[in-house]
């Protein structure tokens, strides 16, 4: 029996500056995970990942990451993905300052 599909988002890093980005429902790459398309269907996830893999001139290494629904949009479920939405903890660098 296959495991139940848990909700996902598609994420990658930008080719030019390496920053973490998420794929939106309208085919953009956003630096905010809240903008990501929240994917609850496995077949749709496969199709969206195929699309992402075709974006190699914009992004690097797309993958499906676990997510949960939040008040402002998708949120991470694992600490690694949470760090990617924020930046490092030792300095106020990366998204935690750049997105505000």
């Amino acid at each position: 029996m296959s495991r139940r599909f848990t909700p996902k988002v598609i994420t990658a890093n930008l080719l030019l500056d390496g920053d973490a980005v998420w794929l939106t429902a309208d085919d953009r790459w956003s630096k905010s995970m809240h903008d990501a398309e929240f994917i609850e269907d496995e077949a749709h996830a496969d199709i969206r990942l195929l699309f992402a893999n075709g974006q190699a001139n914009i992004i690097v290494g797309p993958y499906l990451a676990d997510a949960k629904a939040g008040p402002n949009g998708p949120e991470p479920t694992h600490f690694r993905e949470e760090f990617r939405t924020r930046g490092p903890s030792n300095y106020a660098h990366g998204k935690q300052v750049e997105l505000n």
Binding site: N13, D19, F79, G87, N90, K95
Partner: protein, 556 residues
């Protein structure tokens, strides 16, 4: 220090030009990421969690002031104003943009530096004792040998697609400050009974998933046999090493699975085959290289100013007693500049701090700087009369922390704050532990104690050989920290013992404090170090303090 010849200069420039072209083609879409990735890794460029990371080689940890200033310039112009000195004597920039990297490499080439072979399955940057050429216990300076190995291994056609990465360390002192027993090949410069200089060769050490202490494969290798013998070792492993499983590909597994005797015999056979091909030109090159590493001309001047300050200024005295090491000349000292201010990120220096250190090296240190694998910066040749001025300048640069070798002088890998391979964070743990023991004002009382933290099993933070080692793992989606005790990275290398279940991030500093408090209660005299006490008592009393006290607190 070594100076590039025309060949070195042309080679490094041609590689920069090639990479510039490769980056352009990647951005234009003419190269796929699968095609580009191995090319960028050959130039030290990784893609990490939040950005690219460029790892720049600092061969055998040696820099001059001009090079340090260029690193500061790069940090300011293309990064976020700082750099991270690593346990491999490299420097990493955490925020470069892809299109800027060719310019960064060009700027490095301007000062005879590069990022070649700082990644990939090749022979990596050769590391060495950071006190090379200065230490009182030195048999010979390890840097000429390290430079010879660098030249031999760079672009070596046989060794560009090895089963895995390959790390060589060279130590020239009786004390092993280069952790040679945790490298694929460790080389220790020794003298035989006849007083001749040669090499003890250690093979098959390594940390990571399967930590192993290297084994001596040759007690005394004559000087002229070094390159052919090292080439034979790598050559045998290149054929025998497992390519079916990357966790079993390192030479430590090859030596373990085949046995040292079998590996040694195969190496000897290969050595006999290739030895004749080394016509002695390597020894001529080594002799040329040695000319670049001649001892500085030492000054003779009064030390009164030092003696007076030492007698009257307790903060200066504490720094001198903690951060200085014996130099081969009595009037001189080796200064270790702590890049480990309490609460700061281990190994991170700002561009201003880099320039401050460069200025000191130029004014007082024969223009030499070293990066230690313990993530500090060393001024190897300082006249004692200049120590007060150096201390004052370091205070201004916020670099005068007197904690070298103490509990807050923590090695920490970048961990999950930067590294894509990490399973947990390291830096915040190091920051919190250092801050805790500074607040307790106990670290000078505790004495020598090395804490080493890795954020994953690959062990860049050398946790297995920390007196106290901390390994960050992902346990069911939560950061969890496992402790090892009694590790030792010196000539008496030992892998630490696991204590038992790990601790959550919010509990790990308390756990370390319980271990240290147990040590203070158990030591026979203040002169008995943590490691000595551990060797005498074993794991049990520390384990009891670690877990039983925790259980008692939980029951309250």
């Amino acid at each position: 220090m070594y100076k590039y010849n025309n060949f070195d200069e042309a080679f490094v420039r041609s590689r920069v030009a090639q990479f510039r072209d490769q980056v352009e083609r990647r951005i234009k879409g003419q190269l796929t990421e699968d095609e580009f990735r191995p090319l960028r890794l050959m130039n030290g460029l990784y893609l990490q969690l939040h950005a690219y990371m460029l790892r720049v080689a600092i061969p055998y940890g040696t820099l001059n002031s001009r090079q340090m200033r260029q690193l500061a310039m790069i940090a300011e112009k293309w990064d976020k104003g700082y750099g991270h000195f690593t346990t491999r004597q490299n420097i990493q920039f955490n925020w470069p943009k892809l299109q800027d990297v060719p310019d960064i490499l060009e700027a490095l080439a301007d000062v005879e530096m590069h990022a070649l072979q700082t990644s990939g399955n090749t022979i990596r940057n050769v590391t060495a004792d950071h006190f090379a050429g200065a230490a009182a216990d030195e048999v010979a300076d390890p840097r000429p040998v390290a430079e010879l190995l660098r030249q031999w291994s760079t672009d070596h056609p046989e060794f560009q697609f090895l089963p895995r990465k390959f790390k060589i360390a060279v130590s020239g002192g009786e004390q092993d400050r280069a952790v040679t027993k945790a490298h694929d090949i460790g080389i220790r410069i020794v003298r035989n009974a006849a007083g001749e200089i040669g090499y003890q060769i250690i093979v098959g050490g390594g940390l990571g998933r399967t930590p192993m202490i290297g084994k001596v494969i040759r007690d005394f290798l004559p000087k002229e046999d070094l390159l052919p013998y090292v080439e034979a070792v790598v050559s045998v492993w290149n054929l025998l090493g497992r390519r079916d499983n990357k966790y079993k590909a390192r030479i430590k597994i090859t030596v373990f699975e085949n046995g040292l005797d079998e590996f040694s015999q195969l190496t000897d056979e290969r050595f006999e085959q290739i030895r004749a091909g080394f016509t002695g030109v390597d020894q001529e090159i080594l002799a040329e290289i040695e000319q670049f590493f001649r001892e500085p001309v030492y000054e003779t001047k009064s030390k009164d100013v030092f003696d007076a300050r030492y007698a009257t200024d307790p903060a200066f005295r504490s720094w001198v007693d903690t951060n200085l090491s014996d130099h081969k000349s009595d009037d001189y000292a080796i200064v270790t500049i702590s890049v480990k201010k309490h609460g700061a990120t281990p190994g991170d220096a700002t561009a201003d701090q880099m320039r401050a250190m460069a200025n000191l090296a130029e004014a007082y240190g024969h223009d030499e700087l070293r990066i230690s694998h313990e993530q500090n910066v060393v001024l190897p040749h300082v006249h004692k009369a200049d120590l007060p001025a150096i201390y004052d300048a370091l205070k201004v640069a916020d670099l005068a922390t007197a904690n070298v070798g103490l509990i807050s002088d923590i090695i920490a890998c970048p961990g999950m704050d930067y590294c894509a391979l990490a399973t947990a964070r390291s830096i915040p743990i190091a920051q919190e532990i250092a801050q805790r023991f500074d607040d307790l004002k106990l670290e000078h009382d505790i004495g020598p104690l090395k804490i080493k933290i890795s954020g994953c099993i690959n062990a860049c933070g050398h946790h297995h050989v920390g007196h106290i080692g901390i390994l960050g793992l992902d346990r069911a989606g939560v950061e969890n920290y496992q402790i090892t005790l009694g590790g030792d990275g010196t000539q008496d290398a030992v892998i630490g013992d696991k204590t038992g279940p790990g601790f959550a991030a919010e509990d790990i500093t308390n756990a370390i404090e319980r271990i240290v408090m147990a040590y203070l209660a158990l030591r026979q005299t203040p002169a008995e170090t943590f490691l000595d006490a551990y060797k005498r008592l074993g794991l049990e009393p520390f384990k009891a303090a670690l877990y039983e006290e925790a259980a008692a607190h939980a029951a309250e």
